[in-house]
Amino acid sequence: MSWCPAGGLSQIPARGARVLKTGNGNVAVFRTFDDKLFALADRCPHRQGPLSQGIVHGTKVTCPLHDWVIDLSTGSAVAPDSGCTSTYPVKVEDGLVYVDLPNG
């Protein structure tokens, strides 16, 4: 694993996300209304919709394609839907965001 810089915190709107392009596909970095950060693979467990483009509410995001709701802290779909997407650790240092990504 390695901490990759993902831009400045101020570049991610509250209740929004930015996309980080990686060798293993896109990672969505979310910022909630109370400034918590989460990083998830930008692929909905349903049909790979780009979660980064969804509406963020509380610590959840609603996928823009068919309205599945994904819990940002676990990457799991909220019941009764089921499925899971990968999550990655995030940290902020001096106003810069870092995501801990698998190597390669």
């Binding site: 993902a6 929004g16 790979q48 823009p64 870092y98 190597n103």
Partner: protein, 824 residues
């Protein structure tokens, strides 16, 4: 220490209240539940399928005993509470178990009523209320042949049908001359009786039971005139009485039922009551839909939120006998002022009757084709004015113009693998199975679990029918008062009123003032609030992009692969070589995979990458092209035909008028998308009569038509009025659009809005009241002065364009910027 909550009666209403409470305040109480029956809480409604062997007991459990353990609830099953000590605040059961309470909920249900004739104590005489009764009936069916069911109401007929499926000879005995007389009029009841007779049931009508005869087990039933019929099993299903024994013995005020106020509180403020045992504003209910409404409100008060009120319910019923469609709702008798609208087709055994009073539907009886039951019931509850629509109210609506359901209208005749939901490929069998196995009650439940009806919604009527077929009663129609979303108790109208009257100017202000139950709303309420605020405070409210659906945030339509489509505005459908060239160049430059003419007279560039959007827009802008808002709850297209400029039939300049309308209305945000059209003559090549606002030019002027759409459920427009000049058309159009913006619910298109409020209301404001029309028009123009900025131009460059760019981790890595810990 936690407060103590005790529930007496672990049936459907009581346990629903506990579940609602756990949703609101899971930690607030130590909960103890007493139930006289030996089981956890089961779905009483499904006793009939259990009797007909279409279900097992496991299938119909709602809360098995493990559920109580998992939720930390103490269950005393098989114990009947015999006393309440209101001074000491404790209850005691028949085995001596004593439990103190801070709050007590009584949910003791009903007693089946037994007619007091000699012989009711004999073996083989049963009531029809619980699992024990069903077990007794099933045991009798094994080694006996003749069953008599006393009572030709809902319960009696269901019992008769079940016993017949178990192989018994069944006779139904009814005191009156007409079955289900509380729900059906004589004509419908006669059809029902004939159909049940065809299935082999026998009937003794107007027969008064005098005695049940037998030595130790029942042998026959004797009637008033001395006549007897043989019986090895007698099922008494003549009605229910609220079970108020316990409450009464404790001195809690009762009349027919335990009397409660709008908070479901009894005269003892520590004691609440819910379910069939309750009497509220003089009414007792015997169907679960109203009891579930009560349970929700009770939970709200026991959780100390204290803001919702139960105001009574309207009920509808549906008979759960496979293959027979009967629906009844509201008042089916009427009075001197009630009019009846009838439709009858004896050959097909279809009968429909509506009772109308003061131009509102007050009751309905449907037999043979109940597909419109849910829709009509909703009209009764909403008090819809039917003066304009009464001619065709009784013609099945749900399939007329519905796309995606192959035109089917009755679920009973379908096989299990008939597709119900065309969007998500869900079949009847799957839906029925899920309703039973997951114990679903509402349309929302079915949507969540099966996805049926969750996309375009055209199959909603069919899914509601399946719910009713499977469960009986009325589950499909949600509470009388529909909150805007699960985050709030308030309706769309209440929210809009609060925004205006309290001058609420931001989403957090609205949520705080109206006690939102979530800290941050959800994907349903936030976009609605954003629009309501934008509409109420033009020029003042700052739009919240994060509360908009991605299409409106990115000003382009998201596609299935995460790319976007771009549709520039083509004013009135008229373009030029220069515009076409610019579009062609953009398509080439950005490698746009598909260029397509849309159904709305414009060009769609499909498959544009998000990071290319600002560039695409910049280039289109420099050719004078702006956003077509093809992605927005906004003004979309204004379709026109060639009109008097070229066409040999044209009466007016329809193209020119269309362009003027589009210039006036572009950029406006609405509750849903809005489409306009202008046709040059009644041949109507621009399809103006299926648009939200359509103009049909005639020799002497302009006809205005409103409230149409193509799409999922086709609706032709209603004629609004005829005008003489283009200026008038522009004014009426602006006023109409503003009225829609100010009054409709978010995501309600003009068609359902007009059906809800009635065309008459709209005519009064737009046509009859020149002053209000002028004011609305002025408000529209004022709002437009703030919203006619091309969103593409705003996002094509600078900081806003940056938000469309991803951060490239690979590039950073290659540049050696990845923080230490990298092993590369």
């Amino acid at each position: 220490m936690k407060s103590k909550l005790v529930l007496v009666g672990n049936g459907m209403a009581g346990m629903r209240a506990v579940e609602e409470l756990l949703k609101l305040e899971p930690e607030m109480y130590d909960i103890t539940v007493f139930g006289a029956e030996l089981y956890g809480n089961y779905n009483r409604i499904l006793l009939s399928p259990l009797l007909a062997a279409e279900n097992t007991l496991d299938d119909i459990m709602l809360n098995p005993t493990s559920w109580y353990d998992d939720n930390g609830i103490t269950l005393h099953a098989g114990k009947t509470v015999t006393t309440i000590d209101r001074a000491k605040r404790s209850v005691t059961a028949d085995d001596g178990t004593n439990v103190p309470y801070d709050r007590l909920i009584l949910a003791t249900g009903s007693h089946p009523f037994m007619i007091p004739v000699p012989g009711i104590e004999l073996d083989g005489v049963v009531s029809y209320r619980d699992v024990d009764d069903v077990n007794k009936m099933l045991a009798s069916a094994k080694d006996h042949t003749n069953a008599v069911v006393i009572g030709g109401g809902l319960l009696g007929l269901e019992a008769a049908y079940g016993l017949q499926k178990q192989g018994m000879n069944v006779t139904v005995v009814h005191l009156l001359d007409s079955l289900m007389e509380r729900q059906l009029d004589k004509a419908a009841a006669a059809l029902l009786k004939a159909s049940l007779e065809k299935r082999g049931l026998r009937f003794e009508m107007e027969a008064e039971t005098k005695a049940i005869l037998g030595a130790s087990r029942v042998e026959s039933v004797q009637f008033g005139d001395g006549w007897e019929i043989p019986a090895d099993l007698v099922v008494m299903a003549v009605g229910i009485r609220p079970n108020i024994d316990l409450a009464k013995s404790a001195g809690v005020y009762c009349e027919r039922g335990i009397v409660v106020n709008d908070s479901l509180q009894t005269y003892d403020p520590r004691i609440y009551a819910v379910g069939e045992c309750v009497q509220h504003r003089g009414d007792c209910y015997g169907l679960v839909a109203p009891l579930f409404e009560q349970a929700k409100i009770l939970a709200n008060h026991v959780a100390e939120y204290g803001y919702s009120r139960y105001e009574g319910s309207m009920v509808s019923t549906k008979l759960k006998v496979t293959g027979i469609d009967v629906f009844s709702a509201g008042d089916i008798v009427g009075d001197g002022k009630t009019e009846e609208v009838l439709f009858q087709d004896p050959a097909k055994a279809i009968y429909k009757k509506l009772l109308i009073k003061d131009q509102k539907i007050t009751g309905a009886v449907l037999y043979g084709d109940t597909a419109d039951g849910a829709r009509i019931f909703q009209m009764i509850r909403d008090g819809i004015d039917v003066s304009e629509t009464r001619d065709d109210l009784l013609f099945t609506h749900h399939s007329v113009g519905d796309s995606g359901t192959a035109g089917v209208s009755s679920t009973t005749s379908m096989t299990a693998n008939t597709e119900i939901c065309g969007c998500n490929g869900v079949c009847k069998g799957t839906i029925v199975e899920t309703i039973v196995s997951k114990q679903l009650f509402t349309l929302d439940d079915v949507r969540q679990h099966t996805k049926a009806s969750s996309s375009c919604g055209s199959c909603t009527g069919l899914v509601e029918q399946l719910l009713a077929d499977t469960l009986g009663g009325d589950y499909s129609v949600s509470a009388a008062k529909k909150s805007a979303c699960p985050c709030t108790e308030f309706t769309h109208d209440e929210i809009r009123r609060a925004i205006r009257e309290q001058e609420l100017k931001s989403i957090p202000d609205v949520m705080a003032f109206l006690d939102w139950t979530t800290s941050d709303g959800c994907h349903k309420c936030r976009p609605a609030l954003n629009f309501y605020l934008l509409c109420a405070w033009p020029g003042e409210y700052r739009d919240d992009a994060q509360s908009r659906f991605i299409n409106e945030r990115a000003h382009a339509n998201i596609q299935k692969d995460g790319t976007y489509s771009v549709v520039p505005r083509i004013w009135g459908g008229v373009t030029s070589p220069a515009e076409l060239k610019a579009i062609a160049e953009v398509a080439q430059k950005y490698d746009v995979p598909t260029v397509k003419f849309t159904g709305g007279q414009r060009l769609d560039l499909l498959g544009v990458k998000k990071e290319d959007l600002p560039g695409v827009w910049g280039d289109l802008n420099s050719a004078g092209l702006v956003s077509g808002h093809a992605y927005g709850k906004a003004l979309r297209t204004v379709k026109t035909c060639v009109g008097s400029e070229w066409c040999r039939f044209g009466t007016q300049d329809s193209t020119g008028l269309g362009i003027k309308l589009e210039r006036m209305a572009w950029g406006s945000w609405h509750p849903h998308k809005v489409k306009l059209a202008v046709s040059g003559c009644p041949r109507n090549c621009a399809e103006a009569t299926i648009k939200d606002f359509g103009v049909v030019c005639v020799d002497s002027g302009y006809e205005l038509h409103v409230g149409g759409n193509g799409g999922i459920k086709i609706r032709a427009t209603d004629f609004l009025c005829k005008l003489e000049t283009e200026e008038e058309v522009l004014e009426y159009c602006g006023a109409f659009l503003q009225l829609y913006r100010e009054e409709a619910h978010y995501l309600e298109r003009t068609a359902p809005w007009i059906e809800r409020v009635g065309l008459a209301t709209i005519k009064t404001v737009i046509v009859d009241d020149a002053e209000r029309r002028a004011q609305l028009h002025a408000r529209f123009l004022r709002s437009q002065s703030f919203s006619q900025h091309d969103p593409w131009a705003e996002h094509a460059t600078g900081e806003k364009a940056m938000t469309f760019m991803p951060i490239d981790a690979l590039r950073q890595e290659r540049a050696g910027e990845c923080a230490e810990g990298s092993t590369q």
